[in-house]
Symmetry: C2
């Protein structure tokens, strides 16, 4: 059994490659739910959906999230209320786009939660509905909310203000300065998949944001303990290439939160729990600096331009844990 810690887009593309190398039945992915939110009364799990839609071959390839051939009729109609709601209301937010087809997934999740089903069960049902054979597991069934603390006065709020991850990521296009990240609820929440992490042959950390995609999973009691004990079976892929994130705010956040935005910075974050870091050829000159953090370092192609590159990357990661 292969376990994969996963965020959104990068993880989804990595898993797509891994599925070409390993029978999907032998893959369990533990997915970040710190980004989950409730909008319009609907329970939305962005990372779970990105992984599901990508692996089902239904993701929009341009956006990297949401469904292909999507329409936006409901969102368009919402503007009527967004422009007339009372000043103090935050109803009818139009900054978080939900496609018409995508809505069905949120409808289903919301209704099943209301019926008392666990997010684990619902996630499995949604994966099955999309024909997936791998096991997708939300990191917890309880509420853990990734919260960004603002560093500066800006349109998003005064310094020290906490905003939700989706406000940070989507509403403000992750372009406001952060001074901290919190995972509200993570000390009380029970981690899912600890047994899988304890018994998996390999544990792979997908090329997701270390601070806001993988860190929420790691914040749950037991996860880091198991990973630290099994560190030689753990391999991470750096989401930072040549000092920059391929997508999203990983580079910016790393700098703002006191890390080095480089594969060395990633190595420092993962060294306690991970034996090997895979970095891109572009960073080959930093391999010895990664190894200086007490990790093995493997240099390969990490930019997943195609499923074949993803598959080769997954193969490399698996070999590193053997």
């Amino acid at each position: 059994m292969i376990a994969v810690l996963a965020g959104g887009v990068g993880a989804a593309r990595f898993l797509r490659g891994l599925m070409l190398e390993v029978e999907p039945q032998n893959i369990t992915s533990i997915v970040n739910t710190g980004d989950d939110t409730v909008l319009h009364g609907l329970n939305i799990s962005p990372d779970l959906d990105t992984v599901t839609y990508t692996l089902a071959g239904a993701i929009d390839p341009e956006r990297g999230w949401g469904l292909e051939n999507e329409t936006w009729t409901a969102m368009g109609a919402l503007s009527r209320y967004a422009t007339t709601r009372p000043p103090q209301s935050r109803a009818a937010p139009t900054w978080f786009n939900l496609g018409d087809k995508d809505l069905a997934t949120h409808f289903y999740r919301t209704a099943r939660l209301a019926e008392g089903a666990s997010l684990t069960q619902i996630t499995a049902e949604i994966a099955q509905a999309w024909g997936l054979d791998l096991q997708l597991v939300p990191m917890t069934n309880e509420s853990v909310q990734t919260v960004i603390t603002l560093a500066e006065n800006c349109a998003a709020g005064s310094a020290g203000t906490d905003i939700s991850f989706q406000e940070y990521f989507v509403k403000h296009h992750h372009s406001v300065a952060a001074s901290g990240v919190k995972f509200v609820g993570s000390t009380e929440a029970k981690a899912n998949g600890l047994d899988i992490l304890a018994s998996a042959d390999s544990i792979l950390i997908a090329p997701s944001n270390p601070l806001v995609s993988i860190a929420p999973i790691r914040s749950l009691a037991g996860v880091d303990d198991i990973l630290a004990k099994r560190r030689e079976s753990v391999c991470a892929i750096s989401p930072i290439v040549n000092g920059a994130a391929l997508k999203g705010p990983a580079d910016r956040l790393m700098t703002e939160l006191g890390h080095e935005s480089s594969v060395v910075g990633v190595a420092k974050i993962y060294a306690p729990i991970c034996g090997t870091l895979i970095i891109d050829h572009a960073d080959a000159h930093l391999a010895s600096s990664v190894e200086a953090q007490g990790m093995s370092c493997v240099v390969t192609d990490t930019i997943m331009k195609s499923p074949q590159v993803s598959a080769a990357l997954a193969r490399t990661a698996l070999e590193a844990t053997r």
Copy 2:
């Protein structure tokens, strides 16, 4: 001030005519919410929306409910989950159609309720968003659920089973036999608009189903007391013409629940609280039987083929209460 007790389609058409006769600012409609339901986690108020959309000129004229030029993408996508959900689950119901544009209204209502706004406040906001000047008031801000008790064994359930109004009306196309109607929660719920009923110059009962559209409003404490005291200011329009309902199950329900499916049956239901019943020319021969119930009876055109007919009907109703 004119007060109107209202259900869905018939009431909406009547109000459209009334607005041609009376300044909308002087109209308050108290609307049935016994049909309200929660689907996909969304708070849905079918009668309120039918009235709002109709008066805004946005209703689909063929269906009589929902928005014109509507698309059904979200509903279509829901079938994936409807066909894969666990057998015991009722999530992803596809029997209740929600158009993509219409969804925005439910999103807004649901989010505003979650913010703590009352249904009265939200209904006013939605009406304003659609440019309406009349006052729409939900019959209560609390949960009152119209429940139909099944008379016979059928696909809908065994005799004596209670099903929600929307299951009865939409899922089973109001084609199953009923043995009773209940308004669950009505003894605890506080009626809205009692002050308006007490002070209005005229109180009109729209041509809505007496047993499942008007009866829920009447089931709330205080409503019938006020109407009975002001009975000469109250005028109802029969929704039954020539023994049949123009739309919906009023005729069938009246028969099944022990009433006569005729204007005389309607008169018997309304006589304690209403001084005048307006009936269609088709029922002119029953005028004396209506009067025998202790009501005045006015014969006119009641089939609202056009806003002009609706307006004339409204004018007749207003005259009857003067």
